[in-house]
Each structure stands twice: as structure tokens, then as C-alpha cells.
């Protein structure tokens, strides 16, 4: 054959490098693949049945062998069979799929949380410990990792095929998905919802590391300020502590330990305080007024970026006592009242 060895070698390497099946790199992957193979089997069986019917009837009843067709009206028994059997199979698939769906979209309580902010054509990962990553995500092996995601502009969709997880990242609301990575390595991150010009450039790498490597990575890649510390800085600079300082006469509700509690609102409804509620309360406070307080909190819509909101939410999640809040409030008040030092006098 006239193919030169160089070309032949390239072809072999090229075909070997081609992927045919994604790696099973998370605990949910085998379950998803099991459902996939069941569905493949169903499709195969369905197609083969139809093919057999078509081929055998075509051969057995072709015009030469059977010149006169016998008219058959139909049979309700047959109609019933090929209504009920497909329906039964489809319902089995429905239940199996629903169970898998609820597993993937309901994170376990002990999951470690990482915030993802989708922005036109890049993924920003915000680790609570203060690590910030662009188009990359480092996760420990063997631990459930929950992603709380939001978009700054348009619809994106965070997809890790090798973990079989995908969730739309929409502006204005947190969406969550979780996974428990099993095998170390690097896997693709894709944005699968069309989001504009560089939609195909909005890709990244998930690096799954052994717990030891992950610890080492968190040490040497931290930004020095955890999200909660950043949140505290914003909490003070935005003047939130003026009302939310936990004292008896405070105009705003006490925020220490509010995360995870069930809150009574002025309109009588009870709501669980979670990340989404905290973010909504900051952006549109008048719809989330705690019972017994006046709706005087101004809106911060458009003044705090999504990252800032994430820092604030993270800060409030870890706020158990108001001690530091009151301290920062006293120092800032004392700074304000202290007389300026006269020019020329060294402090």
C-alpha cells in the first residue's frame, strides 16, 4: 500500500489519542453509566426488533412471493402490548433517572463548598480558604465538593463530563451541584450553554489531588485573606455594622449565628437562611424583612460585585459572635470623633 510509514505512524498515534468513552472519575459516574448502558440496551433491542420485523416481512412478503396482500384490520391485543410494554420500560427509566437527578442536585450536608462565578468567557473559582482560580479548579479526592454557582452576565453552564455533572449557571440566583471525585488527574471543564463569542474558549481544568497534595496546594496558593476575612472588610466598609451590630438597640437583626436557622419574616412566613437567602436579603431587603424590624435597609443592587456578595455570605456563615463587629464599630467611631492632630505636631 502506498501510505508512507510516517503517515501510517501518525494515523496510529492519532487514532489512539482519540477518546471513545469518558473516564469515571466521580462516585456518581458509575451510576450514570449504568443508566446509560440500560438505555443503550433498550435502544438496541428496540431497533433490532423493528429491523427484524422490517427485514423478515420484506423477504417473506415481497411481491414475487406474495402477489395478493390479505387485508388485516388490526388487533387491539397487539396495540395494547406495544403500548403497555414501552410505557412500562419508559416509567422504569423515569424512576431511575429521577433518583439519579435527586442524588446529583441535592448536596450532602458535609460537602465542602466552593463558589464558582461564571463571567463572559471565564470561570472564576473562589475557595473559602482564600484561593482564587481562573478557568481552573483544584479539588481533594474522596471528599464531597459542592459548587455554589452564579453568573455575572448571561446563562452559562458548568459541565465536567468525567464527573457526569452539569448545572446551568444563571444570573440572579445561586444554583448548586456536587460531586465526590475518586481518581486523581486533570479533567475538562466546559461551558455548555451558548454565551457569546468565546463560548468555546470558556473551558478549564479540574485537578483532582490526593488529600496531602491538596493541603500543600492550599498552603502555597492562598491569597492570604480568606473569603470570610474579605467579607468582614466589606461588612465594615459598607457600614453594615452600623445597624447589624448585635446590640439590643440595633436597627438591624442580629446576624451572629443566623445562617442555617429558620427565620420568621414580617409577612409571617418562615424561611431557612441559606446562601441564596442571604444574597437575596442583601440585594432586595424589602422582601426579606425579619419579623420585628422596619424595612429601612437600602438595596446594594449594583454596588457589590458577585464576588463581594460571596465574601459577605461566607463571612455571615462563619459569624458566631458579635464581639469583633462591636470592636470594629468602636474603633471606627473613635477614629471619627478623635481630633485631627495639629499640623507640625508629630503623633
Amino acid at each position: 500500500m502506498g501510505i508512507s510509514p510516517v503517515l501510517w505512524q501518525f494515523l496510529i498515534k492519532w487514532l489512539h489519542a482519540s477518546a471513545l468513552f469518558p473516564a469515571e472519575a466521580s462516585t456518581i459516574a458509575p451510576y450514570a453509566d449504568a443508566l446509560y448502558f440500560f438505555l443503550l440496551l433498550m435502544t438496541l433491542v428496540g431497533t433490532v426488533i423493528v429491523a427484524i420485523l422490517l427485514v423478515t416481512f420484506s423477504i417473506r412478503y415481497r411481491a414475487e412471493k406474495n402477489p395478493v396482500a390479505t387485508q388485516i384490520e388490526g388487533s387491539t391485543l397487539l396495540e395494547a402490548t406495544w403500548t403497555i410494554i414501552p410505557l412500562a420500560i419508559f416509567l422504569v427509566v423515569f424512576v431511575w433517572g429521577a433518583l439519579l437527578y435527586f442524588r446529583i442536585y441535592n448536596p450532602p450536608a458535609n460537602a465542602m463548598n466552593i463558589y464558582i462565578v461564571g463571567k463572559q468567557w471565564m470561570w472564576k473559582a473562589e475557595h473559602p480558604g482564600g484561593q482564587h482560580e481562573i478557568n481552573a479548579l483544584h479539588v481533594p479526592m474522596g471528599r464531597p465538593v459542592q459548587l455554589t454557582m452564579i453568573s455575572q452576565d448571561v446563562f452559562h453552564s458548568f459541565s465536567i463530563p468525567d464527573f457526569r455533572v452539569k448545572r446551568e449557571v444563571i444570573p440572579g440566583r445561586y444554583t448548586t451541584v456536587w460531586f465526590n471525585a475518586t481518581t486523581p488527574g486533570t479533567y475538562h471543564i466546559f461551558c455548555t450553554q451558548y454565551c457569546g463569542t468565546l463560548h468555546s474558549g470558556m473551558i478549564g481544568e479540574v485537578t483532582v489531588m490526593t488529600p496531602a497534595d491538596y493541603e500543600k496546594w492550599t498552603q502555597d496558593s492562598t491569597s492570604g485573606m480568606s473569603l470570610a476575612q474579605n467579607g468582614e472588610r466589606i461588612f465594615a466598609s459598607m457600614g453594615c455594622n452600623a445597624c447589624h451590630n448585635g446590640t439590643a438597640a440595633a436597627r438591624g437583626p442580629n446576624l451572629a449565628g443566623v445562617y442555617g436557622s429558620k427565620l420568621q419574616l414580617t409577612d409571617g412566613s418562615q424561611i431557612l437562611v441559606d446562601d441564596a437567602y442571604l444574597r437575596e436579603a442583601i440585594l432586595s431587603p424589602s422582601q426579606h424583612v425579619t419579623a420585628g424590624f422596619a424595612p429601612i435597609m437600602p438595596t446594594y443592587q449594583g454596588q457589590i460585585s458577585e464576588e463581594g456578595l460571596i465574601d459577605l455570605v461566607e463571612y455571615l456563615k462563619n459569624l458566631n459572635s458579635n464581639y469583633r463587629v462591636q470592636q470594629t464599630l468602636n474603633t471606627s467611631q473613635s477614629n471619627a470623633t478623635a481630633p485631627d492632630t495639629a499640623p507640625g505636631v508629630k503623633p
Binding site: 441535592n106 429558620k262 424561611i271 431557612l272 441559606d274
Partner: protein, 112 residues
Amino acid sequence: MTEHHPDPMNVTNPEHDEHHIVSPLQYTMVFGTLLVFTGVTVGAAYIDLGLFNPVIALGIACFKACIVILFFMHVKYSSRLVKMTVGAGFFTFLILVTMSLTDYMSRAWGRW
């Protein structure tokens, strides 16, 4: 109204509909009721009935719409086919509303 016995052979007009003419008197009565109920709906809006305000407002609006459809638009005297068409229209609208609400109403469930 003569009893209609649908006759399949006459496909073009199975119910032998003769063209019923609604008298102006009926129109004036319908006109009167519509005006009265406009007044009622405005009046009812001023009374604070809490949750029932929108219910009553919509109830009155539906009632007025039914009157207009039945008498002004002659659906009361037209063939079953037209009646079914009107039904199909509002039924599809209800599907859009109720099925979308299954999403919006159940978003808060399952949080705790």
C-alpha cells in the same frame, strides 16, 4: 332551539344550524349587565377583602367575558364545533399557566 341530531352524511353542516338572529333587546340587556358589573367590580375593589379581592375581580371579569362570548359573539347559537374551539383555546392557555406555575410554586419546596 331545535334539537340538533348530527347527521354524519351531511359533512358540511351536520347540525342543520339555521342562522339564529339575536334580537337587539337581548343585546341591550347584555350591554346593561356588562355596565352594571363594571360598576360592581370597581366597587368591590374599594372594599378590602384581603385575599378575595383578586378572586372576585377575576370572577366578575370571567363572567363578563362569558356573556360577551355567548351573546355578542353568538357562540350560544353556533355549532358544537365552535364551542369546542373556544374551549380548546382557553384550555391551552390554562395549560401554559398551570404547568409553568408547577415550576414557580415548587421552587421553595424541599429546602428544609
